[in-house]
Symmetry: C2
Subunit: 349 residues, 2 copies
């Protein structure tokens, strides 16, 4: 980027050819004689010339870069889930020669600061209240896909998500089949669409058995009340044990479940004998090492990222109408909660 960098003009001059020829030698977009090719390569090497990616992008109107928009919160803690997801995105992009630009800039309404990003497309994480960004990308004519279900209020968009509702429906059904009647659900934050979908699925399972899911057994993660997920799990159990009847608790994350286990230990509640426990989101190493080992639902974060990337790349090549895709989840039964045939049947609707 320094003035000292050799440009295509330098190479052209030194090699005694035109810029167009040098360009062609590197891009191979039109045939150049072996002799000239040879000479150009030699000069380029001597001068340490590398085509300037920015100039190429400006000319070609494509950058081979896709943007990954994550909320600042994500940047702050980067749980394993996000890392896996990002990894899936990177992998698929790399296979097609695309790079990934991480973007954590906070939602900024100051028009003067926002430029048209140097990206061919964009993936949005955490579609909580991101409608604005979505609209902006649409306005910029930049293909976008969100991971997670976007708010229905926002304009239609491409997205990939877990089959959250079905997953919870099946989980609920399995639990009811096991004889459980009182489920405590420590859900994600209330403003997340994923929280709504899962709650709906659980209620549907209850309804299908002619039961009502009691609102008293439904909690939302509140960042203000509990600094960490672990605390959320711990406190909620500490606050409700003995007061609220439940025989199984479902937690939105494994770390919440860790908190639940800690509380249970302190209260002398044995898992799974007196209380069953299942986590939505699976960290296999952690789940296997805690005792009892943790039954969990694998959300396949890597798949989510990979599918999103695939969809975006497809969108970039041949745009089309909004589409979406659901990534299956898998129940991983361990000691903390037994489940009958959780991965088969039970399809809803």
């Amino acid at each position: 980027m320094k003035p000292s960098m050799a440009t295509i003009a330098d190479v052209a001059r030194e090699a005694g050819v035109s810029k167009a020829t040098v360009s062609s030698v590197f891009s191979k977009k039109r045939p150049i004689s072996a002799e000239v090719t040879e000479r150009v390569y030699a000069v380029a090497k001597r001068l340490g010339y590398y085509p300037n990616h920015i100039a190429v992008s400006l000319s070609l109107k494509k950058t081979m870069i896709i943007g990954l928009q994550m909320s600042v919160t994500n940047a702050g803690e980067w749980p394993a889930f996000n890392a896996e997801m990002v990894s899936g995105v990177i992998q698929v992009c790399a296979e097609s020669g695309y790079r990934v630009l991480l973007d954590t800039l906070p939602e900024n309404s100051d028009r003067t600061t926002m430029t048209m990003d140097p990206v061919d497309g964009v993936i949005l994480l955490n579609p909580a209240q991101e409608d604005k960004r979505l609209d902006r990308f649409r306005q910029m004519n930049i293909p976008a896909v969100v991971i997670g279900r976007p708010n229905p209020s926002s304009t239609p968009a491409c997205y990939v998500d877990n089959n959250n509702e079905e997953m919870m429906f099946r989980l609920g059904l399995s639990l009811l089949a096991q004889g459980h009647r009182q489920v405590l659900f420590l859900n994600a934050a209330a403003n997340m669409t994923v929280a709504q979908d899962r709650y709906e699925g659980l209620r549907a399972a209850y309804r299908s058995q002619g039961l009502d899911f009691p609102i008293t057994h439904h909690f939302h993660y509140d960042w203000h009340k509990h600094p960490t997920a672990d605390e959320y799990g711990y406190q909620t159990i500490a606050d409700t044990a003995g007061l609220l009847p439940y025989t199984v608790v479902i937690t939105d994350q494994m770390h919440i479940a860790i908190g639940v286990m800690r509380a249970a230990r302190e209260l002398g509640i044995s898992i799974p004998e007196q209380l069953s426990l299942v986590a939505l989101g699976d960290d296999a190493i952690l789940a296997q090492e805690v005792s009892p080992s943790l039954t969990a639902v694998d959300l396949q974060p890597r798949q989510l990222g990979a599918e999103a990337a695939r969809m975006l790349l497809d969108l970039i090549q041949r745009a089309g109408e909004p589409r979406h895709r659901l990534v299956d989840t898998a129940f991983v039964v361990r000691e903390s909660c037994s489940l009958p045939n959780p991965n088969s049947g039970g399809k809803k609707g």
Copy 2:
């Protein structure tokens, strides 16, 4: 990026001013009358105009993007350590208005495929055999800092690293002070500089007590022999228990330690009574949940990333001679191994 995007020329025409004026309105680099400013903003909004980041970059010769080069392996598994490190990089960059471009392209010697990246500087991970990339960036005149100690054979470079040698020296001293004489060291892969530094530190600790560290007790991770870190730990213990005398094992990663614990469990070796265990690299949640809880060394990956970013940003603004910086580690004593005052004193040299 589509032809439909409004450009600065469109705005200028519609607003009846020059492109220079529109440019100035957005960049605020020279004063423009309130009236004109108003009009330009209005037109820009109506047309959905956003300055094109690529064009700006080409003109300004800076992109406000820094590249993060990671080996493909990293992209594949993204352990918590890397996620934390990347997170540190992102955070510092974001504070200064920089974005991060992830690059996982495999080391490719095909000259035709490599362009001068659209970045103002670059951070390299895993400095195992990356000399080539370093040289390339130097040739391109792109500031670079590596995380980890670069090979001494390569040209001098800026880097940030843990104080690995000192850390191992202190750890070794603490262990010897505890009465341990036989330490089993499950080190990282042999080609990593970090592995060499740690081994040196441990040997120095032994030497300082007039002892020799026996080569029989030093193992290197070999990806071909053990598919996972866990397996590496498990197998090595399974293979050596009873044959090799040792009272404490140091593992390069927590996951290796998990494997060691599993082997110990199966072999009826109780930790820490019969065998002490300490891991280099701390995943607090995991370390606390296993039993016994795991004594570990916090490598402060987030700090590593943050320091690297700070150094790079500094380098971008005012270049200078190669510099480096060591990030302190912290001993976190839990149940698997007791250590006397590991975080104080014992400075080497």
